[in-house]
Symmetry: C2
Subunit: 646 residues, 2 copies
């Protein structure tokens, strides 16, 4: 006997009443798996999502009330930049990560990793993070309040320019801020309507245009020259001090081993490269992938989930022959259309977007190579699959001055939300930087040996020593000099040989910093011809790196709308793939017989892995549907009196 109808919730009409459950287990499973298939493949029916303008206040209220996320330790007053995900947010995140894992790790046969968060300081010294992963900060000399130096200078100068315009009676047109980079730096600073002289205005405008390029000492100079103080207190500021953005701790009880919480998962891939390569039978290309938490001890976190101190990342490191960045599966994605903002366009001060297929973008050299193009296309497919609006998604190429210290080329997927265009996925070509520095530091060969089909003949230099006099002259430094010479490239050896000829000597600088003068009577450098059967190289790394919290927040904005008939009734129309709860189960009345059925029903759904939720409160059916629209539940089952369970 049928026991309930499988009806639609807000988005999908799945032929209501077509699926009726019975208690017969085989029939139940058959019906449910039929539905499950439909669930995963069904397409939303058309609803008018744009009847009302997006209202961030309403969305925020829903996110808090339905516990998508909330400030961590809220009952203790919270800490800026730390958030906890509640039941709905966690499930949404888990579903996004599951989709990511299937889309990349499983489908592309990537080598998964789970490396430690606590990272030995030496690793991050080598990668450059201990020296360079820092922001400049200034302190109020009296109350100790701390600001990011560049943000503060920018805010004060902007306010003064605004004050100048007011004084001159020029209407101040607020430039539309669509760029996240700009927005995040804004501090609410006001300045009096004071007219500035024309030179100062010009100087200020130049300063703003260059704000990203100043060093700490330069910012200090600007602060002193332009008498910038703490806008809140009027107190003087300290000189800018570098603040490293990594959380620091000690490993073990002695205090002798220092560690940092990783700022990215990437270094965990690189230090395992030799094992990964062996696992892949010594061949490239291949990719490693990791999902996990990373940390960034921001000076002043803001903007909710977009700039936090602890966040989930999903990172891919794809190792590729630097001479061959073709991709075996490029053909499968060549027709995927990308929305591009290339660097040339930006350098002309424009933000016009160009739409073209991945094949065309790589063919024209706008995107450098097939591998980078392949990941851009796959990422476009992933983001739209989980529900990001393709019209609010663009690939922006980095300009030379904004690239990370390790990157050779970089494209960001930026997603548009109420915060402007926000970087959510970075696709960087990190070149051979990381593998090279770790290899040099640890003296481990992080290189690929490729058997050549045809041996090649190579011109090299052979270095020979007059062992006895060489040893007597350089004593304990002799070994270091030999090691240094053995590691020099061909070009440098040619220089030394030339200097031998022209000056009769040459200087060699060893790893310990000491310089030594070598002479041709002790060191002979002769050209030789070698036949090589193996080519050895350090692979380049293409890195698609996903900020999961940013993607999740953007998805919330893109999924949120209000019913055409009722602006107060918010809906989160997630794709079924990522919806935290797939099916709402309600009974048409509080009759105990129906209550038994809905509890049995949800148990059966859940046993099949389909997240379902009962609403057995006293509210009306309409109210129940509305409440579950807010959770983004796409389907509903209503159990009515026509139902008989047995």
């Amino acid at each position: 006997m049928p026991i309930g109808s499988f009806s639609s919730s807000w988005t999908r009409k799945l032929a209501p009443l077509a699926y009726r459950f019975t208690q017969n287990p085989a029939h139940f499973i058959h019906t449910t798996s039929t539905i499950a298939t439909k669930i995963m493949t069904s397409v939303p029916t058309t609803v008018n999502k744009t009847a009302h303008e997006f209202d961030k206040g309403n969305l925020d209220a829903v996110l808090t009330r339905r516990f998508f996320y909330a400030p961590a330790f809220e009952i203790y007053g919270g800490v800026a930049g730390l958030y906890d995900y509640g039941p709905t947010g966690s499930s949404l995140q888990a579903n996004i990560l599951d989709a990511w894992r299937k889309h990349y790790i499983i489908e592309e046969d990537m080598l998964e990793l789970d490396t430690t968060i606590m990272t030995l300081d030496e690793v991050l010294k080598t990668s450059g993070h201990v020296a360079k992963f820092a922001d400049w900060m200034v302190k109020d000399t009296k109350n100790g309040e701390i600001y990011r130096a560049d943000h503060l200078v920018e805010a004060v100068i902007e306010a003064r320019l605004k004050g100048d315009k007011e004084a001159r009676g020029i209407e101040h047109v607020e430039v539309e801020e669509t760029d996240e980079k700009k927005k995040k730096k804004k501090k609410n600073v006001k300045a009096a309507a004071v007219k500035l002289d024309d030179n100062t205005v010009a100087e200020y405008e130049f300063l703003l245009a260059q704000i990203d390029n100043y060093t700490g000492p330069e910012l200090g100079e600007i602060i002193r020259k332009h008498k910038i103080t703490n806008p809140t207190t009027g107190n003087e500021l300290t000189e800018p001090v570098e603040f490293n953005l990594m959380f620091e701790s000690n490993i073990g009880p002695t205090g002798a081993i220092k560690g940092y919480l990783r700022p990215e998962t990437a270094q965990g891939h690189f230090v395992n490269f030799a094992r990964l390569l062996e696992f892949n039978n010594g061949r490239v290309p291949f990719a490693s992938a990791q999902i996990g938490k990373s940390f960034r001890n921001e000076i002043a976190p803001r903007q909710g989930l977009l700039r936090v101190r602890e966040f989930t990342m999903a990172e891919i490191e794809h190792y590729v022959d630097p001479l061959d960045k073709k991709h075996a599966r490029f053909n499968e994605v060549k027709d995927v259309v990308l929305t591009l903002l290339p660097k040339d366009v930006q350098q002309e001060g424009r933000t016009d977007l160009v739409q073209m297929t991945t094949g065309e973008a790589v063919g024209k050299g706008i995107v450098d190579n097939e591998t980078l193009g392949y990941f851009l296309a796959r990422t476009q497919l992933f983001l739209t699959k989980i529900g990001i609006d393709p019209k609010r998604l663009r690939c922006r190429q980095h300009m030379a001055n904004e690239m990370a210290h390790y990157a050779a080329d970089c494209w960001d997927f930026e997603i548009q939300s109420s915060y402007g265009w926000v970087e959510c996925v970075g696709c960087a070509d990190r070149s051979a930087y990381d593998l090279t520095v770790h290899s040099v530091r640890t003296k481990q060969a992080l290189r690929v040996q490729q058997r050549l089909e045809k041996p090649v003949v190579v011109e090299k230099f052979d270095v020979q020593y007059e062992a006895k006099p060489f040893g007597m002259k350089f004593k304990k430094d002799a070994g270091a000099i030999k090691e240094t010479l053995a590691g020099l490239p061909k070009e440098r050896l040619q220089c030394i040989k030339d200097e031998f000829a022209s000056k009769g000597s040459s200087l060699v600088k060893c790893a310990d910093g000491k310089e030594h003068e070598i002479t041709p009577d002790l060191v002979r450098i002769e050209p030789i011809t070698v036949t090589e059967h193996v080519r050895e190289f350090t692979p380049n790394v293409i890195e698609p790196s996903f900020g999961i919290g940013r993607i999740l927040y953007s998805l919330l904005e893109h999924s949120y709308w209000a019913r055409e008939q009722d602006v107060a009734r918010g809906v989160l129309s997630f794709p079924v793939l990522v919806a935290p709860i797939k099916v709402l189960i309600v009974a048409i009345s509080n009759d105990p017989a129906l209550t038994t059925i809905i509890h049995d029903l949800t148990r059966r759904f859940r046993k099949l892995g389909i997240a379902s939720r009962i609403d057995d409160s006293g509210a009306s059916i309409g109210k129940k549907y509305a409440r579950n629209d807010e959770l983004g539940t796409p389907f509903g089952v209503t159990v009515d009196f026509a139902s008989e369970w047995g």
Copy 2:
């Protein structure tokens, strides 16, 4: 046309040759999903796994060679207690976690959480971790080497007793160490064969029996009295110093906000209790669940994955009415058979295991209540589902002296491996401890309000004040006294009332530690009768807490065996559910036509979410199967010349 046969790998015979693929997409998907269903439900055929004794050396070699896991930052020399999971280990872990999530979170409708690792110090002060989550350590006074005080004392005393036996000519029988607690403390210490007097032997034996109960100062006393020095150097040791096992860091740039890396995920649940309760419409029972990393800065980590400084946990906090610990679904698990080691048995010094159904264990009061019993049964089902050998699995009840500072009752799932019986899942009744302390500290009500079906009449005390003289007498302390009295239980108010009658006054101790004498002329305490329509209570928390790394390592040992015919050929026979790779794909020759087919085949498998791996090396088919036995790949497809693709 058929293109390849779906044949069995080592464990399962799936009617070889019955499934043949063709390039026709519909047929391929149909065949694959038929197989996928079989894969997930198939039962291993019988193979002789016990022909050879377990060899930990061989297993370790496989785990390293096939990169299940390796020391973190190995190329930098590594750090004790930190491990990275490689491709096979990560996928195994991901599959275990996926199974866990489905078994608990989805199937039981738990509220998932993802809370921060970085935890405000105040939270962990309240929970007791800042004061109590510590071990005592001693330092070598000359070389600074550090030991856990209790481990060192135990090792030295044991060695001396052994030396005594040798001197007396008594053969020393090594007691079989099956208990992980004992084993982990062992340090390889040797003492000379010196005869001790009988009193000293008795004292040493008493000391060893009590070793878990000594405080730091007591351990210091023992070290001095028995002249215990660093056994390696002979140098004297410092007094025992407490070392907190949490990693500490600063949040933000000021240094004013201190944080710790969480030692458990549980506190993240408790501080969110009010929001979780609201999400669940104010009703208990319900459970929250979280999977994530936790940290423990061990003094001296050992034993591979069993005692590490960073580990993945999966924790459930089930909130239940302290007066009603029944479980609605208990009936579904009452017949699950548990292997129990109750505390009574242990207190008699025995380790006899008792087998009984969950229903019987709860019925007889051996397991305290239905909810605890329910989780024990569900956990038994989970662990055996992922491949833990039920014969090497037991539930051991904690004795009173070994319980954590917050626990009211506790059962551990212990899994037997070459390290003995190791705690892998703890099922603790944490009572109302955590919610109460957080509530008191933050003044937030972390309580459940339950509408009573019938109102109840309650006898209480009403406290009234002579406002003016009371205020004049106690001045600024008046508020604190009122607050203290308002928070006192009925029994305490009765005492005060009694003291008023007998002595004419009573002492009240406020939260700031000050004591005040109150008198009946200023404070009146009168019995009143109140009709209550709502019952308010702090729920108790039942906590099943899973150490995923320990379970994973135990599973590796339980899954490892060597072929009867070839002891060198190791096999990891994972259940299909958790196997990192499901299908091995090989071609019968290196013919380019076959190579194309296997690459196409693996792509199609992976697109359907089935992890498959090609072996296209030059090895023989037999060798290829052997290599993939080591990865625990249960199925294989061989593409032969009978195959035609298209």
